[in-house]
Structures are given as structure tokens and as C-alpha cells.
Amino acid sequence: MKIIMGICLALNASLALALDVVATTSSMGMLAREIGGPAVKVVELVAPERDAHSLQVKPSMMRALRDADLLLAVGADLEIGWLPVAVGGAGNAKVQQGQPGYFEAAAQVSLLEAGQAADRSKGDVHPAGNPHVNLDPERMAKIAAALAERLALLDPAQAAAYRQRAAVFRAALAERLPGWRGKAAGAPGAVLYHKDASYLMHFVGVPVLGYLEPLPGIPPTAAHLQALIGKLQGKRGVIIHAPYQPASGAERVAQATGWSLASLPLEPKSPASAAAYFQLIDRWIDVLVASRQAP
């Protein structure tokens, strides 16, 4: 009986050794769950229907980071308005920038729109590049591989399992890539609110016909919308905005052009699995494709 109890205690101990991962967004949480499997416990800081850029810091974030072994951020300045303060208030040496416990997804891949002049007369420009990498399945595959290596570094005992799971995730993605691209082929294009879906559009090769924001971070102005409507006359496409972005400008353009209007989330529902992430990409592509048949 004592031996059995010992085994039970050992099992419990191995469970308690699970890595505490704090992910900022739900797609980062999805990666942590898919790659980490049962060896990680995941907490997400940003609810999927929220703007990860304009969020404000909350004490509960510091609480979550206090005991984290790994902070999984999107990076490239996306969370700059609140994450540094949350990390600062957590008193946790492990997740400080530069430590193995600090992982930025955007730092693992090349970025679109990188190297622009740091000139805010062009809007809220991020010289490091566009941070919204989560909607690019190819980049997510690379990030998954990098994350597996990072988890392996933090928890060498499970290294093989992390790499295995990353390979499974990448394979599942790879399997879907041709289908996504094939389906989206010939979609006429889309007008976006902000440059937050650039990666997906780039991935499927569907053109962005305009942005509702005159400049990144600047809300739509009447003059800009008027010019945009003029530019879109005679073309076909769809207008897409995130649920937290105002619909009024989008509605105006939709009315003037007769295009359909869609509110699409940028993040999968939390807690997300790979399947939920794939569904999100499916949803975007369905919307892009629907405008092909539209008048």
C-alpha cells in the first residue's frame, strides 16, 4: 500500500511541475495549449473580443504573471501599452524581457511593413513591423516550432513531446494551406478597418482595397471615407472590421458601394484549440470568398 501511495504522490508531483504559461491573446494561448499539451497550464490576459493594443493593465494580470514560468506575448509593440507595467508589477524574474521565460511570437518570424520610418505623422507606426501575425497560418507554424524549442529549453524532460506536438500542429496547418489558398483564389478583395489582417490577406493573396482608418490608429474621417468610396466605385469586395472597431464608417462605405459588411474577430474563442483557430481562418476566407458572387 505504501508503494502505491508513493506512486500516487509522484504522479501528483509531476502534475504540479506543469509549466505555468501566461499568454497575452487567445491565439497565443492556443499555441501554448497545442504545443505544451498536459505539461503546461495556460492563462490568457486578453479576452478574444478585445483590442490587445489599447488594453489597460489590471492587477489580475500581475497576479497571473507572478508565478509564470513563461510569458508568451505577440510582441512587436502590440502589448506595449500595458504588458511592461504588468511584468514590472509581478515581481517575477523569470518573465523579464531577455530571459528564457519571455517569448515574443513576432520576434520569431519576419514581419510585414517592417523598417518604416518612426514618424507618427504617418499614424501609430511600429518600426518593428506589423505585429498582427496571428492570422498568418504559415508564420504561426514557424512560431509553433520556435515555441516548442523554448518549452524544451525550460522543461528538457518533455522536450521530445513538445517537438512532437509542434510537428503535429504544423502538419495539421500544412494540410490546410492549399485548401485555404485554393478557396480564396479569385476573391476580389476587402476593405479593412485597421492593418490587423494584413498577414491573412497576404497569405491568401487577396488584395486589401483600402482601410477605413486614414492612418493607423486614426479613426475614420468623413473626407477619408468619401475618398475611399470614390476609389471603390465599380469594384467588388467586402468590408471587414473587428467587433471592437466602430461599425459606423464601415456601414457608410457599405451603403455607398453596395458591398457586404462583416464583423470578424481577430482571435479565436477562448480557450482556443487548433480546431478553433482553423475555424477562424475558415470564417475569414468564407467572408472573402462570398463577395465573389456578390453583384
Binding site: 502505491i4 500516487c8 479576452a47 515581481g91 524581457q97 501609430d124
Partner: protein, 491 residues
Amino acid sequence: MLRPSLYVLAAAGVLSSFPAAAADVDMKALREEIAQMKAAYEQRIAALENRLLTAEKSVRKTAENSQNPVSTAEDSRRPQPGLAAGFNPQISVILDGVYYRDGRKGKGPGLLESIDGINHAHAHEGHDHGELESGFNLRETELVFSAAVSPYFDANLKMTVAAGGGVELEEAYFDTRALPAGLKLRGGKFQSGIGYLNAQHPHQWDFVDQNLAYRSLLGEHGLNDTGLRLEWVPKTGNWYSLLGLEMLQGKEQLFATAGEATPTGRADGAALADTSGGILAGTKRGPRLTTLYAKFAPDLGDKHALQFGVWGAWSKQHQEVHDHTGENPASFVHGLQGQGRLWGTDWVYKYDAAKHGGWGNVKLAAEYLRETKDLKIAFHELGDRVGQKREFIQDGFYLQGNYGFLPFWQAGLRYDVTGMTNEINGPAGRLSQMDPSRRWTFALSRDLTEFSRFRLQFSRAKLMVEGARENLNEVYLQYQHSLGSHGAHLF
């Protein structure tokens, strides 16, 4: 009784973990099956990875050839380093200007300086804010530098440049980044962690000016001193807790000032009375000011956040010299010394509506502060009064709310009071009882972008100055612009 039931539980756990343990043969078959599955799976993964690689290559090719508006021309090939890679140190500048008018022909700032209270009695030192004038004013321009020094330290520097050119070092400190067990050490000159607003700089305030409670009990810029701070974030389940201890020098604070000289003359130019007696003690060894604070925050989910705190501050030496002979030649010059203490409680609630531009967001904040100075007369022109006790007590509070009534628009309302208790006690009872000053403030803010803010503020105050009620209406029109690296704001 407990042990057997534990065994049962343990046994149940083991059995449920290994349901196939009973049949060895089954196990063997299962293992083989798993091995086969694994081999097949690995083959499939390898094949898929190959496909992934070729797909990636072909995409690159087509993208390179395409005339797509979102072309890979923008796609930089090298991986980007981490956060804020662009600048080291990160530098930001905040420009702040106001157009000011009041209903007292420009006397408003002077009246606010002279509110009846226990700290009004002695001359203010330190900050030279430059008197606010009716019309256009450039407020202090704030410069902030911050960077990691090494894997072990972060450093931070904040300075202000006044319109007249005066440069002041507001903060210059290091923070540790590698201490274990939720500990953090800060050293240098910094804003104390007491209260809610104390650590915030003027550009983070929801109103143009400081509230009356802080202004009269801590000073316009709050408690800022030189020393060491130890903060600890303990493990407290779902709650966030923060405990802080600060050992500060105790220099030029309203309730912690040392090094005052025994008076040798009078402000009105006359000689000190022959009956003068006593001396002010020399400066005690620092640190002379200790603060302790605790903040707690339950996890209220995604939309709500609440934090409350309590704090105390104690000075082991406080000296002040009172010389009003300039205005009133009949008064006597005297000096007091003893200890000062302050305590307070702070409450913040935020509601995040998850809409664009802060639309629908609510923020409520309230603080109460109470200051006591336990002093004895150390010098007096009437020497027989030396040794008499004087107790100074004053309190104050503010209550403020902000609401995002439209995207990028905020309305704020504040009620602040100082001196509900406002008294000076001698050995035989109350010597002086002063009335409180109150104010209502309304502010309307518009954020054009994350980096530009405009604010219109109107306030109506009933101040007590020299025992008389003074009504004061003030209007501010303010702009704030932040340049340079993208700052993060405190909770």
C-alpha cells in the same frame, strides 16, 4: 480514520490510471498497436513537413512575382528582436500647456496656495512651479529615459523643464529585475508608492491639476524623496497583493523636514525679542521617513478591476519655523520640532467595456488622507513657551469618476475636500480650528490619437483663506502631447 480512506483513494487513482493492468496480453497487443500507429504517424508528419516546405517555397516565389498591393517587398527577411528594439534608452517627452482663466482676476493660484491648513503656516520650499497666469501657460515639460542596465537592473530617469528654463530631477532610480520570491528593490529618488495618485505624473492625471487633499497634505507633486524601496508580491491565490516598505531620507516634505536653522532675525527686519529662548536640534541621521503600504486586488474577471490599499508614513524628525512678522509684526517668530505621520486609504475601480477608443469605460477613484504632526516648541521669542506641545491634525479626500461617453471622449467629475479635521492643539486644548476648503471639478477630454489629448476643465471652489470664505471659479484648456517611445500607463 483518515489514513485508510487515503489508501482507498490512492488505490482508486492507480487503478483508474492503469485499467489494463489486469491483462498482460492485452497490454502487449496495445503496445504494438500504438507503436504501429506512431510509426505511421511519424511518416505522415514527415511527408506533411515536406509539403509544408515546398508550399512555403512556392508562396515565396509567387509573392515575389505578384503585383499584389500587399507584396512581400515590405516583408523584411530577418527576424525582429524583442520589444522596443528601436531605441535604447527609450526616450519620451511630454508637452503640456494650458490656457487659464479664473473668476478672481488671476488671483486663483495665490488663493489655492493660501488655503487654511496645518501646512500653510511655514514657507514652502523646493518646487518652483512658476505662477500660473491668466492666459497662456507652458507647464513643465517632462522628459523620461528608461532602459535595462543589465540582466539585473532597470534604470529610469524623469526630469522636468519649466517654462523659465529651470530643470528639475523628478525621479532617478534603479529597479532590480532578478530578485526571487516576488521581491523587487528600488533605489534612488522616486515617487513613493503610497496611495493611488502619488506615483502618477501630471500627464497621467484625469484632471489638469492636483486634488486639494494631496496638495495640502503631501504637496503638489505628492511624496517624492530619496531612498530605498522593497516591494513584495506574495502568493495570495486569486488575489493580487503588493506590500511595500520605503526608507526615505525625509527631506523637504510637509511632515518630514530636517535641517531648519534656529531663527536669528525676523522677516519684518526687527531684532528678535530679548526673551527669545531655545534652539532647533541638529539634523538626525537619515533615513528619517518610513512608509509602509499594501494594495489588494481581487480578480473580478475580464470587465471589472478593483484595487484598494492602505498606507502609513512616519517621519522621525520634522522641523518647521514660523515667521509671519512680515504680514503681522505683532506675531512672534518660533520654531517647532517633533515627528510627523500620515496615513491613508485608496480605492480604484475600473470597468472596461471592450469598445473602441475607451467608449463606455468607467473609472472611479477615491482616497482619504490624514496627517498629524506631534511637535514641541523648540524656539520661541517668548522663551517660556519652549517645550510646549503642539499637535497639528488635518485630513482630506477626493472622489473622482471618469466615463468614456463616446469613442475617444471622456467626461470626468471630481469632488475634493481638505480640512474636515483641521486643527492645532496645545497643552491646554484647542488653539485653532480651521474650516475645510471644498471644490467641484468637471473635465471634458478628447484624445485625438493615443499621443495627443485636449482637455477643458471647469471648477468651482469654496476655499477658506485666513478664516474667510473665498469663492473661486477656474477654467483650463489644456493640451498634452507625448513624443518618442510608446509609454505604458499604470493601473
